[in-house]
Amino acid sequence: MKKMLVIFSTPPYQNSHTVEMLEAAMVGAVFDFQVSLLFRDQGVWCLQNEQNAVSLGRRTVGKVLQAMPAYDVSAIYACAPSVNAAHLDPSRLKPLPQLLEHSAQAILLAEQHFVLSA
């Protein structure tokens, strides 16, 4: 099974790229890729609890993320230094990610066949 990692580095509502790349992750899983998601830099805000993008007229990233396990995408990681820098409470992130230091992220990337970025 080929491994595919999708990296999210931008804030969830800066543009539509986050949702569009989550769609790519879902299709990858449908094609039997082993898909993982890594949130880092400003992308960790995608995991903020209690999002609501209705007032923006956009899809709520948090809700799309909640649907990922239905596509067998359950390996969700977040950059620990980025979470700390954003002053986010890791226990309140949703879905709950596995926090990775930079060295662990390097290992994760090295294991992948393909890396996509949003």
Binding site: K2, M4, N15, E20, A24, V27, F33, F114, V115
Partner: protein, 130 residues
Amino acid sequence: MKFTIAVHGAPYGSFANERALKFCQACVASGHEIVRVFFYHEAVLSGLNSTVPPQDEIDVTQAWADFADTHQTELAVCIANGIKRGVLSDTEQARYDKPSPTLAQPFELVGLGQLIDAMASSDRYVEFPA
């Protein structure tokens, strides 16, 4: 070696297309194969048939068309990203009752599965962000 190329950056709003095109040209010049070029996010605008760049600037759409014609390469525009940004094939123009089709030849509107399928049969996947 087989390559799948994904372009993410807008034409004229970024240099993603120019970088990707140069990379593709270098690949084929070195004997490699481009399985598919996939246009995602704002890069779907590279497939518009209505752009008129200044005479002293690159015509991104035509440059891709020339490359595809020379090397028999498929230029795939994500249909979901494309139609919401106004890139419409004849079929989509009729389906949504819009004034005219806007997809340049030889670009094709395709589903995301075409990106994943190309990746699955490639040795390398290379992205060109904005």
